[in-house]
């Protein structure tokens, strides 16, 4: 069953065209990694699916419903949650307030279950988010998205700016979340990690999809070629 379907999506920032005629689907329960160089349009694509960016043309369908012109907060109540690039926490709110402010849908996730997945936050729960370390802040950002009890979790470069050991911890927690059946679409710069965590990989270059396939079936050289655009597809 298709959970999210993107049709001929075009996204622009003024004259700059960030996403050009992109179409793809993500099935229920799948984990898909979006990879590509800086400026390939990955973040814009995620933000458009979440409703933070209005597309120039094309459609986004979620669970069969056209959500293209729906404001972001209503998409959240349908079950789309984005962990934005740069985390975007509410700095003066405490960890717990950050989580509680986000409780949009009822479900498996609540403050208690989020703190169980990210035990590092337990002693920090009454501290302002701004005082936390980068890794802890990323945990809050993911936890905050989980509080929305998403059916589709969008993750935008969750490893950015974190120490390798912290990235490892974040992905260990994510593996648990993925194994529970949440559908995940993630942007990741680290190719090896993307191929490891995702079932399917979509590679973007200059706003277009240039390679798409099962993570297990893709050989690294083809991905690297597509990633850097060494051999342009005709």
């Amino acid at each position: 069953m298709t959970l999210v379907r993107v049709e001929e999506l075009d996204c622009r920032y003024g004259l700059l065209q960030a996403v050009r005629g992109v179409s793809f689907e993500v099935a229920l329960g799948e984990t898909v990694a979006l990879i590509g160089a800086n400026g390939a349009g990955k973040s814009t694509l995620l933000r458009t699916i979440a409703g933070a960016h209005k597309p120039h043309s094309g459609r986004v369908l979620f669970d069969g419903t056209d959500v293209t012109s729906m404001p972001a907060h209503r998409r959240v109540s349908l079950g789309i949650a984005l962990v934005p690039e740069g985390r975007r926490l509410f700095p003066s709110l405490t960890v717990e307030e950050n989580l509680r402010a986000a409780a949009a849908r009822k479900g498996r996730w609540n403050v208690q279950s989020v703190l169980e997945v990210f035990p590092v936050l337990q002693p920090r729960r009454h501290m302002a988010a701004a005082t936390l370390s980068g890794g802890e802040q990323q945990a809050v950002a993911i936890g905050r998205a989980l509080m929305c009890n998403p059916r589709l979790l969008l993750l935008d470069e969750v490893s950015l700016g974190l120490a390798p050991i912290v990235v490892e911890a974040v992905y260990r927690s994510l593996a648990g979340i993925i194994s529970e059946g949440t559908t995940v679409l993630l942007v990741e710069q680290d190719l090896a990690r993307a191929l490891k965590v995702a079932g399917r990989v979509i590679c973007m270059l200059e706003g277009r999809i240039v390679l798409e396939g099962e993570a297990a079936s893709l050989d690294r050289d083809r991905v690297v070629e597509a990633y850097f655009g060494l051999k342009r597809p005709a």
Binding site: A50, G51, A52, P71, A72, H73, R74, V76, S77, A81, L82, P84, R88, L89, F90, P91, S92, L93, E97, N98, R100, A101, A102, A103, A104, R105, R144, A145, M147, C148
Partner: protein, 292 residues
Amino acid sequence: MTIVNAVVQGIFLGAFYAVLACGLSIMFGVMRIINLAHGDVAVLGAYVVFVIVDSTGMSPFVAFVVALPVMIVLGYVLQLTILERSLKSGILTPLLATFGLSIVIQNLLLIKFSPDVRSLGGNAGAVTTSSWQVTSGLSVSALGLVILVVAVLLFGALQLFLSRTPAGWKMRATAEDADAAELVGINSRDVYARATALAVAIAALGGLFLAIRSVFDPLSGPTQLIFAFEAVVIGGMGSLWGTLLGGLALGVAQTVGAQINPEYSVLTGHLLFLAVLIVRYGGVRVSLRTAR
């Protein structure tokens, strides 16, 4: 003893300024809007109460409760119709829009109510005239005390709302990052409209106190705005408790100044405001330098 009396009266006056400033502080804190029509909205609130008192003969305090839903709806609609559009086009547009709104409110009030000076002091009963002589040099007026108590309760209630309730967390979250708030399911338009509704309702409370403790006319707004604005800046932009303290400090500065010479009352308030600007922001010097 006279100086003690001046300080006590200043605290009462300052509590009134704090109530006036409260809504201004909320709108700046949540949306970064400096509402130049805030004083006029307060005066509009006073007129709404005045109309109710005039036609029913009820106490202004009861009439205010009747007027409250009207002001809340007005604030909500004001946000969705005018302020929301102006916010989309940069930081200068809300200033211009609220400046225009200020002129419109003043002139509509002039057309409807004429430039006559009015007061609700006579309708409020014994509270306006009662006072207690504590010592020979110190008296406490009932109205001053009522305003002080209401101001402290108001700021306390807002503090509890913002720190303890889900709606309060959502308002603070939206104030800090409206786009990120949308991404976690918060309807930022609705939060903004609620904040403006709250600000307009509290402005009306300030208008009620203005009407009872002194007089008002259609053009009273801008003077109230200046005192409210000074209270917000003295207390620190965007800080709620700061606004209460800022209002009190402004009130005390004015009454102590008046103690030295009655002509100095407003001047000492302005001087305190300028001193805070210079000390905290290095404001005057910097702005002169960049202006050249």
